[in-house]
Subunit: 148 residues, 2 copies
Amino acid sequence: MREDTSTAVDLLTESLRAKGMRMTPQRAVIYEIMKRIKGHGHLTAQEVFERARDRLPGLNVATVYRTLEMLHEAELVDLMAYGTEVRFSLRDPKHRHCHLVCRNCDRVLDLELDEIERLAKRLKTETGFAMDVDHLTLSGLCKRCGQV
Amino acid sequence: MREDTSTAVDLLTESLRAKGMRMTPQRAVIYEIMKRIKGHGHLTAQEVFERARDRLPGLNVATVYRTLEMLHEAELVDLMAYGTEVRFSLRDPKHRHCHLVCRNCDRVLDLELDEIERLAKRLKTETGFAMDVDHLTLSGLCKRCGQV
DNA sequence: GTGACTGCAAACGCTTTGCAATTGA
DNA sequence: TCAATTGCAAAGCGTTTGCAGTCAC
């Protein structure tokens, strides 16, 4: 676990350096937070800020926004737009999925892509529209909330 | 055409009155704008404001927001969330569809629901998640932009 | 006449910016 | 060293609110 994290940060450091950019405590903390929620959560910039500030008291929101944008440009984090808010999650090429957001309880479920990809293929041949399968977010009611 | 519009406004007037609410010039203009773009467009509140102000110079943005919310609560207009922005369109029960937004040129295409509904049914039985089929917005590249 | 509605101005929440100070390489 | 990065403060943006005046009915 610990090793995973430090390795990941090292990889980030390298890829930053390759672009003439620098590793900083802020970036390491933010990246580690994104890594920790991987697979079970999608945070807003504000939420990332709150968590990061616990470990880095002087941290500024602007830094969080800049870092998340940087990580997104480096293709390390994905953006998910839900309603009027944007959420971030670590990209995992091995586990491509889309999001199901419950409009009642706000829980986010992951959905494997096969199903969607079938739809995407049909859509493409029928209309020529190539939908973004990767950052797809579907709104609805989860099992629990739908039963009410 | 003209007759359609005035009839529609009359219907709105009636349904407003039924709830103890009033028809005003502002509401009539905003509703007519929504009616005019029906089927070929989805406007942000700001866009509705700009168009309405041409006809009603003293109009205030706040009124537009309040009116659109009112129309939405009356189930006369739909909301569509795309990325971080919200767009409005007139509801048409006869033509249920979802939206395909091109991430390159921002054009919005309509898609009939059969395809999506098939997916929704499968999703429901497999995961219990009841997706919102009505306000669905898919992002991607339209035929024209995808060919580049 | 009276309460629903409007315009105005101010406040809002989230995000972005310019800049001077700091810090990683 | 010195440019990249940070914190700070201010501004930006779209949206919402409270309120006093207006207008539909």
